[in-house]
Subunit: 213 residues, 2 copies
């Protein structure tokens, strides 16, 4: 995923000669906490935020007099990995980052809320669907057998007695995010899944052996 | 994980009788885009943002005259799951949420940047450490055998010819976040890992059989 897939292409155009009052009006109307300032070619020349604007007393001066010049602004190129924008937001504690193309023109803004939205989607994946994938991989194992195996692994790892049916109820409506917090980290979650798969397979094999005998 | 583990306990105390100018000065000094307003008991009575403050012309009026009253503000209880704060930030497109205790007192703020930081930590887990967990689970499988199995699964799923050594180089320095994007989703990533574990085990078993013969 690249920055260009994460960015918001809609942003207000602010030119260096706009008065502070005009910029305030536009930002207030569009509910924006920050905005890039561009020249007539669309190239970025500066950046301003609502924090900078609220302390200006003379609202008739041009925005270029109080904006942060481009050399002081954290920017990201549209072709960089999306990860880069996330790292910069976290590192520099900014709420948004202007996205430039190779010519230095502003083509979008990556906002913190867009990142939260994208990252949180991952957390929203139902645990149920991960178990379905696991079942698809473990050929010949039924859903019931998988849930019984999960109950056995739960008992082994936590000591808690639980049936396959109860386990199924527990994961119903549960998300990947919740599961990670619940079992103490991603690696732990993954290890438990592998164990469940192994137990399900082992039980299947031992059942077959019993039948053969 | 609960909201209280995610929140920032440091926030500026703003009282309803503070003038707009005082609030602006405090927010500017502390680089805050938003702040709760509390009564003498610490109970939340309102909320304001830099966007609201930049349009105020008379800076001598008290903040209570222009703040959003508490009934219009999105809040979260400190004992709710952290997930609740994330959902509200995404749904209402706010940059931060005040955290209240059961008595309605402000005890912290959940900021969008804190959420991004927490969520992105998951993305930063090295793929390497997930494979190490897998190896720990697959008793008797060496790192080299696991990498060879991964190369075989890569060939099966993508058609690409790759050696175990090349696979190891590829995952070196790669994170969980990159791996998810690279293989097309979380479920796909898990499924591939499970396949790799199975292939490694199957190869081990067939080797043993050869030796026995």
């Amino acid at each position: 995923m690249k920055v260009k897939s994460l960015m918001d292409k809609k942003f207000i155009k602010i030119y260096p000669d706009f008065t502070v009052q005009t910029v305030i009006d536009l930002m207030y109307k569009n509910k924006k906490f920050s905005t890039p300032i561009v020249d007539n070619d669309g190239k970025m020349v500066g950046w301003t935020t609502a924090i900078d604007l609220m302390i200006v007393s003379d609202k008739n001066i041009p925005i270029k007099d109080i904006m942060s010049p481009i050399e002081d602004v954290i920017v990201v190129n549209k072709n960089e990995p999306a990860r880069e924008a996330v790292t910069k937001i976290v590192e520099y504690k900014v709420i948004s980052i202007p996205v430039l193309n190779d010519e230095g023109r502003v083509v979008g803004i990556v906002r913190n809320c867009d990142i939260t939205k994208t990252l949180s989607k991952l957390y929203d994946i139902p645990v149920h669907s991960i178990f379905k994938s696991l079942m698809g991989e473990l050929k010949g194992i039924s859903w019931e057998e998988l849930m019984n195996a999960a109950a056995i692994v739960t008992k082994q790892t936590t000591g808690e007695k639980i049936t396959g049916e109860e386990y199924e109820k527990r994961i119903k409506g549960s998300t990947f995010g919740q599961a990670i917090w619940a079992c103490g980290g991603l690696e732990k979650f993954f290890t438990d899944l592998i164990k469940i798969g192994e137990v399900a397979l082992a039980r299947k094999v031992s059942c077959k052996n019993v039948i053969k005998k």
